[in-house]
Symmetry: C2
Subunit: 549 residues, 2 copies
């Protein structure tokens, strides 16, 4: 494998482990825990793993000798920077317990466990992946571990390999499934512990006990780098409006963090659009107003950040999509074989007045896409909609009206970008490299403590990494019951952007100034070798949430 | 202006000046020069500035005292990383000649000279922009300095400000115009020297005397960073083909350099497509073959790099575009007011058999775009074509045929990216920061030497920057006569990718291996503070051209 000079240099980086994890640890048990909501139902579903205590690790002055242990590890879902370091930390952690411990990686996600596809991760493999981005060490996948058949099939290979603990690195859904698996294995006395690690660039897996998911820091720094570069271009050419869509369907943390880092003219936060019950027209209007105000000041350029999930947060469009899905599901036979135009007519004639009015506000191409493009389950494919182009097209039309009225006298020329894949597999920042290594190493400590159904927890993250705290959180503690796909399910609560949270409040307090003036900040590329104020800073979201800004 | 921590740290970076420029310099004259072709014609057009000698600067042990000089500077055309440092180097250079020297920046490109819009660049302004990306210090623009009226209007303000020398920072066209302006001012004894500086991320302004244009190094490093990140994602998820278009319409240097840095599965080089007289179908076929070969090896993923200008290099499409433009120009009256479908019919019926056959091979949307979308001059808008989507769509169709024939048994799912604006205004790499500063400082030395019609030249660029050589090249030396827009014009020869050059030959020797295997290299983000092998390397194109790899 040919390596870039930076790859070679980063291989030698030694992540900074929290001091509490540098020697032998002892487990300090907190009080029994409760789920965040629906306590009774969650307890019924998790009789063996509900109510466990929070765990904290402290230095142990009288350690006992460890025994070799075989551990399995799975990468689940979308890539996030630092996943390799979780595995490296886990490897080093179990090797520290006993040098004969072994680590097995299941290939291409949870499916590897079910299908018995795995590789033993030896020191020579691990050393190739230290501090690197990507999930390519064992691959990842989106198979959901949900059924008893899957659990039982997995147990066969776990037994065969003598694996006593399984670490699942994933987002909220994967950790929910980890909890279900932990409960099941406990209930049948399978003798396999299950530990989760909080991964997702989207930043929506966090709560009082998990300060942030890994990958968010690096991904938002990469996006902010290129947004900053585009801002500098924008402010040099002074003739384009750049509409930049950012990955993250179910929450706007990425867009908000990037806005805090780069100070664009406009940043839409989906959670605010939903809370204020805004229509798409109102969102478009507010952007158009900013374009007009800047044009009046001689500035025919600007930057608009858009979260990928925006469309699904707009209440009117959410209703429309729901009815579209219903109309199609209820009339499967009638619409089969209809030509495009007939199908469109059929659907339009079956929509409620309100939803027909909503669809009439959309550009024809988008309306057609919503009506005609279906995923394999027959559902509307919202993710195919190029929201950045949709918005700029609608803003352009609105500005044309305003120009006719003599209100808009400027020029409007739009360019479009979408950033997602650019950041999911970047080399982890020092923060994510350290955080992930600690999460993995800490998972080994949880395994050594003999517990199951816990998520690896590293806290105090706004402090230098040596001061971080380590422990474990019962996954059931983060759960509530939600109605998904027609059934009540226990799930980890998704963390949306809180409009009363410090990051949003900081943004809201400054956005008017950023809109009219040009206050762009240019973060530049992630640095690994410079002074700490450049290389070792956590995200601004984290800093604001913990009031260190 | 709020600044990121990296912005603050980079402000303190002191570019490494070539040793020859660190003290007083003396001018060493070479032999009289000739233009690269059409010597007689060029000499006729440039009677006062043709045949000048190459200049080299050496240390001067017996310097004389300098006099204050007022200098003007213009940023022309598209942004390129390092432009600010050219201006900073120029400022420091003329201040070193005499502390009372003054620098004036004309605003928003050459138009600022014509329209008398300028700002004096004082030390406090200059210090805000050291080592930063962008052209926002004075803005840039695409007005072409070509007419006597423009030259005379410019002279009025130059005289008013007492400016004795004008530095034009631009690409091949802007430097051509600089030479014309130098000739004109010399011919009327205006007393204003004109000096050019070689700028363009495209890398197509280079020759025996100019090793590279500035900005190419940084821009390709930014693109390679995100391409590398996408490759890592691609190799982790193992389910997508990423089609990545890269800026650069008139040459494929950017795509080639990025390929050398990242080792993708496919990289199309427009110059090769033209030289081999390939059709679009043949290009599509070759990509499809690679997809099939990888699928046979169980790899349903890959990376394809595409230069922005590809379409215009394909001989068949070039012919088609030419005829389309002709048909429209010759039938202006007939087609006025025609509805879309009638217009399409009209155009199709007026195409030659050969070109009608070519247009029939294109996807309907692209064919329609070629026929219907016009720029303000009535020409086909090739730049609007999303070449990356065009190619992946055609590859998809070809694969569907191959699947029916039982040849292709894999899956093909494509994602698309276009990188351009992400790199044009990035903070300059150490290489570009040093190179640009030296170009500007050296321009001050050329001004002090009293010459005009020269381009600032810094050579020996694969060596550490202290060993670089400095001097000046008569711009006429790089010129030939080309037929553009219906007239013979003296222009600087554009440097295309040479198929017999070391960079292409290295690529060609390795691409089969890169296609079938997965040999991705992940360059990571530009680093400023680490070891020299990470922070101070020139582009691979430059290294290969000068045989240091």
């Amino acid at each position: 494998m040919k390596k870039s000079p930076l790859q070679k240099a980063r291989a030698a980086y030694q992540p900074k482990l929290p001091i509490v994890l540098t020697g032998a640890v002892k487990v300090v048990e907190g009080k029994p825990t409760q789920s965040v909501a629906d306590q009774e139902k969650i307890q019924q579903l998790f009789p063996n793993t509900y109510g466990l205590p929070e765990l904290t690790f402290e230095k142990n002055t009288t350690p006992t000798a460890g025994k070799p242990i075989n551990v399995g590890v799975i990468l689940s879902g979308g890539q996030a920077p630092g996943g390799h370091n979780v595995i490296c930390g886990l490897f080093d952690g179990i090797k520290k317990i006993h040098r004969d411990s072994r680590l097995f990686g299941f290939l291409m996600g949870p499916g590897g466990l079910v299908d018995h596809k795995y590789v033993e991760l030896t020191a020579s493999i691990i050393d190739e992946y230290r501090n690197t981005g990507g999930f390519d060490i064992i691959g990842s996948g989106r198979t959901k571990l949900e059924t008893k058949e899957q659990f039982d099939s997995g147990l066969v290979i776990l037994k065969e390999l003598g694996i006593k603990a399984l670490v699942i690195i994933g987002g909220d859904d994967s950790n929910t499934n980890a909890a279900v698996l932990a409960e099941y294995y406990k209930s049948i006395n399978a003798g396999v512990q299950v530990i989760g690690c909080p991964k997702t660039i989207d930043g929506d897996l966090k709560n009082e006990c998990i300060e942030t998911s890994f990958g968010f820091d690096t991904a938002t720094k990469v996006y902010s780098e290129v947004i900053g570069n585009i801002q500098r271009d924008c402010n040099s050419a002074k003739k384009y409006w750049h509409f930049i869509k950012l990955m993250g369907r179910s929450a706007s943390h990425i867009a908000l963090e990037c806005a805090l880092q780069t100070q664009p003219n406009v940043c839409i936060i989906s959670e605010e659009v939903e809370a204020k019950n805004l229509t798409l027209d109102q969102v478009v209007d507010s952007i158009a107003q900013t374009v007009v105000a800047r044009a009046n000041d001689g500035k025919n350029f600007g930057i608009v950040l858009i979260p990928e999930g925006l469309i699904e947060f707009i209440p009117a469009i959410k209703k429309l999509i729901k009815e579209l899905n219903n109309v199609i599901a209820l009339n499967e036979k009638e619409i089969q074989g209809l030509a495009t135009e007939e199908l469109e007519k059929f659907i339009l004639s079956h929509l409620s007045e309100e939803n027909a009015a909503t669809i009439a506000t959309l550009p024809a191409t988008v309306a057609r896409q919503l009506m005609l493009d279906r995923d394999p389950h027959g559902n509307v494919q919202v993710s195919l909609i190029e929201t950045e182009k949709l918005l700029s097209e609608m803003v352009g039309k609105r500005l044309a009206q305003l120009a006719e009225q003599g209100v808009f006298k400027g020029k409007f020329s739009a360019l479009h970008h979408f950033f997602g894949y650019e950041g999911r597999c970047a080399d982890p920042s020092n923060f994510d490299a350290d955080y992930c290594y600690a999460l993995g190493f800490n998972a080994a400590c949880l395994i050594n403590a003999g517990v199951t159904g816990y998520m690896s927890s590293i806290r105090n993250l706004v402090k230098p990494s040596v001061q971080w705290l380590a422990g474990g959180i019962p996954i059931t503690m983060m759960m509530n019951i939600e109605h998904r796909n027609g059934a009540d399910k226990p799930v980890i609560q998704k963390a949306l952007v809180r409009l009363d949270g410090a990051p949003f409040k900081y943004f809201a307090a400054h956005r008017d100034e950023w809109a009219l003036n040009t206050c762009y900040v240019y973060p530049g590329p992630i640095q690994y070798f410079g002074p700490a104020e450049i290389c070792d800073q956590p995200s601004r979201t984290l800093a604001l949430e913990h009031q260190t800004l």
